[in-house]
Amino acid sequence: MSQTATQPIVAASDVDKTYRMGEIQVPVLRSVGLEIAEGRFVAIMGPSGSGKSTLLHVLSGLDAPDRGRVLLEGHDVYALKDRARTLLRRDRIGFVFQFFNLVPNLTVTENILLPAMIQGQDPSERPPELATLIERFRLTGQADRFPHQISGGEMQRVSIARALFSQPRIIMADEPTGNISSRAGQEVMELLRACRDERGQTILLVTHNPRDAAFADRVHFLKDGEIAAHTTLEDDAVNEARILDCLKELDV
């Protein structure tokens, strides 16, 4: 994609990340550069252990890189103090993880409201969007249950609902479909796509699944800590095949 006049909402340049365990060093990211324009749906693919989750964490301000810069809406994320970084994350990013997405002792509704609560809203005055969201995610019967009383797919829907509720500009999702059935996965992906299409939110998705990646506008392929390739997808039916081709080319 060519540089547009608008500033990218997420930009990483020259990012290195190495895990150190005593003497042993595990280089995970090697001078990774990436720019994501606002309102785009970007997928990151790559073999297991290639550094996808690490990249996502670095981009979202959770895990500082050893070298390089990450800009979120133009802010140099790791130059910020902890509090400012936390607030930036709170106000701009919605997260969906593969595991452990919900606070066990809060109800489904409370979990969805959590970011709003953290921003200082009163959870007792249920905003009207909540009902719509709950209905849209088919959680009506589960609203007052606790996480251990609902299924894995439902949990994932709750976590996406939570990520969407305060309408963050960016949604970061790390294998949101990894743990659930393919039907439920399909549903989750459609929901994410709708976020981009209907509200113009930026989506950053990490996935193994070419079918999921096919929902994106653009796919980056990570191999051995480097962005080995990327492909831009059109709005057509052959996306999945295109992704599979790329993967074959990269020998993964």
Partner: protein, 857 residues
């Protein structure tokens, strides 16, 4: 086995803080109790060693008031029929001369004892030969050294001739020997055979021969003098009670080594110390059990995974036992070290279970008690770690594997019942066992204990069987905060109501500790109040003078001094059956301050009356109008209790005394006031103590030695002494506060571990550090508040019961008073302890590497 140790050691090393907290919890729990047991054992031992070394050890000595030689043999039987008297024996001390070949070879004391009783009274030990037997009328025992010196060997017969006892009389208030006594030719003689030699301990150290009571009565049959009787008492009675029962025929006294009246308070005190030691033990075991069984869900999942992989139940047990064993044993060893170290410190600073300042010369380790404590600690640790296994047995592997948030409601209920039974039945029983073995409590103490146990059981019952109670309490405590910190309050509430077991443990720990603290402090407070009130009654502004003998002229001079209202000389003091002081009614009249006091002085001057101090009257349960037979020089004589008052007659420092007229003292006890050595100088109202003291010193400046104590100083010292005596409680309290803090720390560390992911998630979606701190602090403050308030709810009735009981047992007029400062301090202390305990876990929570924590399930 290798696998077991591998997994166990990984589990221990990967969570160092948790391991350290658990181990310290075990160690401090065990150490506290060991320290108290060791110091108590040695306090006791040293005291026993210091008691008169060459005498038997009865609890009381009973002297008949009337001579009744015929009935003498039946007396000990009838004494034994008094409830609470375990065993009694006659002891008959008289002079004899040993005669060989018509020549006297030694004058000795002859001690007649009932055969078979020597062991009960630790009277002597046979080194060689045999002991006396019933019916032995011609056998006797000698100390081995003495027998060698006199060249008498076992089996030898020797002639024993009785010596008449000296006859004493009273002449002008002086005891004089009317007849020296000694041998008479026509005196009765008896041939006796040496059957046993005494080891050189107790009576075996004296120059005496021992024979049977019957033999000595036979030898001395027509001399009218009285044997004494020794008795051992059961823990259900006291010397005072026996005295009340036998007062028309006997005088009961406590031998020198156990100061009159002190023994009872000592018993109460030591029981108190042991009760708080039991509290520490209870708390320690509770914390040990809970810290080991805390991460229940995690462990149950671990069990599920291991058994899914094909690990047998035995193998799983081995893994858990290895982990628990390593923790418990290292904690136990550390605990013994801490306990002995602490005991050594206590010993060095003379902090004993009989109060501060007692010297402890021994340092013996009571192995049975120490090993029992360590054993209990290790046992509870292992039980705690095996607990998840018991629970997991009821779940299928898949159930155990499924999400870690299973609710084990039915199992929880069983735990509760188990915990309840342990707390409410086993622990009080344990205490009874210990207190009985070590000192023995009276029945009244038992009643106190039952009542206090009842209060404990009630509060525990509510906590255990109404789980909703804590949830409601949590909401109630958090409610006021929710306006200010809505999010934090909600998160804290959800976490607290979601982990009931952890909250229960922390709250209970704090409650037990601060209820104990409240109890001990209100007891000390009540005793101090009592002392102050007593001082108001008994210690008018005055000076107490002790000096070398003074003559009467000096008294008159003192009375003339500026600021002196009057001088009360202590003319004489006797100590049987209790302290009785002789005073001159005229001197009292000058210092009396109310019409009532004047009336009392008037009654006293009429003679044959006795005024009892309140303390004495309470402990012997005498009332005005009662008659007390006092063992006077000419036999028993009735005195009427004409008043119970502390207003007169206090001399440092005995508060338990009776007061009779000086003339009666001279007539009945043959004591005079010729040599005055103790005076109370009563000051005029408003006179400055130190000024008057200077004048008194100036007036008595020619004396070689003179000490003057000010009433205000005595008062302050008495109040302070209570604090000093209770210092050991402060030490114990400090230790159990530490223990509670450790328990709290432990549960918070475990909670922080279990909540790592939750905390990471919250931080990722934007919870700031300050907000996270807020959540955790709200949680700890609430736990502290609930614990503190429950402590007050439990502590107030328990201390009320204990203070009532103390009043009953000690004869002191202590009254329970609720100090609001103490109550508030208790609640704040509880909050403070939980805050301190939360510091480390708070830091830990902030250091959660959330990118990593959220990565894996």
């Amino acid at each position: 086995m290798k696998l077991a140790f591998l997994i166990a050691s990984r589990s221990l090393t990967s969570r160092k803080l948790r391991t350290a907290a658990s181990m310290l919890g075990i160690a401090v729990g065990i150490g506290t109790v060991i320290a108290i047991f060791v110091i108590d054992h040695n306090t006791n031992l040293s005291q026993e060693r210091r008691r008169s070394e060459d005498s038997a050890r009865p609890d009381i000595e009973i002297t008949p008031l009337h001579s009744n030689p015929a009935g003498v043999l039946d007396i000990s039987r009838s004494l034994e029929s008094i409830p609470g008297v375990l065993e009694a024996t006659g002891a008959f001390f008289n002079g004899i001369t040993l005669v060989r070949n018509e020549r006297p070879i030694a004058d000795l004391e002859l001690c007649g004892l009932e055969p078979g009783k020597s062991e009960t009274f630790s009277a002597y030990r046979i080194a060689e030969g045999r002991d006396l037997e019933p019916g032995d009328t011609e056998a006797f025992l000698l100390p081995r050294g003495l027998a060698t010196r006199l060249e008498i060997s076992l089996g030898d017969s020797i002639v024993v001739r009785r010596r008449r006892p000296p006859v004493r009389g009273c002449r002008d208030g002086q005891i004089v020997t009317v007849d020296e006594g000694g041998a008479r030719d026509e005196d009765q003689v008896q041939s006796m055979r040496l059957v046993g030699l005494l080891a050189p301990e107790r009576l075996g150290r004296r120059q005496l021969a021992i024979t049977t009571f019957q033999a000595s009565v036979k030898l001395f049959r027509d001399d009218h003098f009285l044997p004494i009787f020794w008795a051992r008492l059961s823990s259900s009675t006291t010397a005072e009670e026996v005295q009340r029962r036998v007062q028309s025929d006997f005088t009961v006294s406590t031998p020198r080594f156990a100061l009159a009246g002190e023994a009872l308070e000592e018993k109460a005190f030591r029981n108190g110390v042991l009760a708080s030691a039991m509290m520490a033990l209870l708390l320690g075991l509770f914390i040990i059990f809970n810290s080991m069984s805390m991460s229940l869900n995690e462990r149950i999942r671990q069990i599920g995974l291991l058994s899914a992989l094909g690990t047998t139940r035995a193998q799983i047990s081995a893994i858990f036992l290895a982990e628990g064993g390593i923790l418990a044993l290292s904690g136990g060893v550390l605990g013994v070290a801490i306990g002995l170290g602490l005991a050594a410190l206590l010993k060095a600073y003379r902090i004993t279970t009989l109060g501060l300042g007692e010297r402890v010369d021994t340092f013996e380790i009571p192995l049975p008690a120490v090993s029992a404590v360590v054993g209990l600690g290790v046992l509870f640790a292992l039980l705690g770690i095996l607990w998840p296994l018991v629970k997991a047995r009821r779940l299928s592997t898949t159930e155990a594997l499924r999400s870690g948030r299973a609710d084990f409601k039915d199992l929880r209920q069983r735990t509760r019942i188990g915990v309840y039974l342990v707390l409410v039945i086993l622990i009080p029983l344990g205490f009874l066992g210990v207190s009985h073995l070590v000192v023995g409590g009276t029945q009244r103490m038992l009643l106190i204990l039952l009542k206090a146990g009842g209060a404990l059981a009630a509060v525990f019952g509510v906590l255990l069987f109404c789980p909703g109670f804590l949830t409601r309490a949590t909401r109630w405590v958090l409610g006021p905060w929710s306006r200010l910190f809505r999010l934090e309050t909600r998160l804290a509430e959800s976490s607290m109501t979601g982990s009931g077991h952890r909250i229960f443990t922390s709250v209970t720990g704090l409650m037990l500790v601060f209820a104990t603290l409240l109890g001990v402090k209100s007891i000390t407070g009540s005793l101090q109040d009592e002392t102050r009130q007593w001082a108001d009654r008994a210690l008018p502004p005055s000076l107490y003078v002790r000096s070398e003998p003074l003559d009467r002229m000096r008294l008159l001079e003192l009375e003339e001094l500026e600021g002196v209202r009057g001088v009360v000389p202590l003319t004489a003091e006797i100590n049987s059956p209790f302290t009785i002081r002789g005073v001159e009614p005229e001197s009292l009249a000058r210092t009396a301050r109310s019409a009532e006091q004047h009336r009392l002085v008037e009654k006293l001057s009429a003679g044959d009356g006795i005024v009892l101090s309140e303390y004495l009257a309470r402990s012997y349960r005498y009332r005005i109008g009662d008659t007390i037979e006092l063992p006077t020089f000419d036999g028993p004589r009735p005195y009427e209790v004409i008043g119970v008052s502390d207003a007169f007659g206090f001399f440092p420092d005995n508060r338990k005394y009776g007061l009779i007229r000086e003339a009666d003292m001279r007539r009945d006890f043959c004591r005079t006031n010729d040599s005055l050595t103790q005076l109370a100088v009563i000051l005029e109202d408003g006179a400055a103590e130190h000024r008057v003291e200077e004048r008194v010193r100036a007036s008595l400046s020619s004396l070689e030695w003179l000490t003057i104590k000010r009433a205000s100083a005595i008062r302050a010292r008495h109040v302070r002494e209570i604090e000093r005596d209770f210092f050991i409680f402060d030490v114990i309290l400090l230790l159990i506060v530490c223990l509670a803090a450790l328990g709290m720390l432990n549960s918070l560390v475990i909670a922080a571990l279990e909540r790592r992911k939750e905390i990471a998630l919250l931080r990722i979606i934007g919870l700031t550090r300050a907000q996270l701190s807020g959540v955790l602090l709200l949680e700890t403050i609430s736990i502290g508040l609930i614990g503190g308030v429950l402590a007050a709810l439990l502590g107030v009735p328990v201390s009320w019961i204990v203070v009532q009981g103390l009043a009953n047992v000690s004869g002191l007029g202590v009254a329970f008073e609720l100090s609001p400062v103490l109550l508030i301090g208790c609640v704040l202390g509880s909050v403070l302890v939980s805050l301190i305990a939360s510091l480390l876990p708070l830091r830990q929570a902030h250091r959660v590497d959330y990118a990593t924590a959220i990565r894996y399930e």
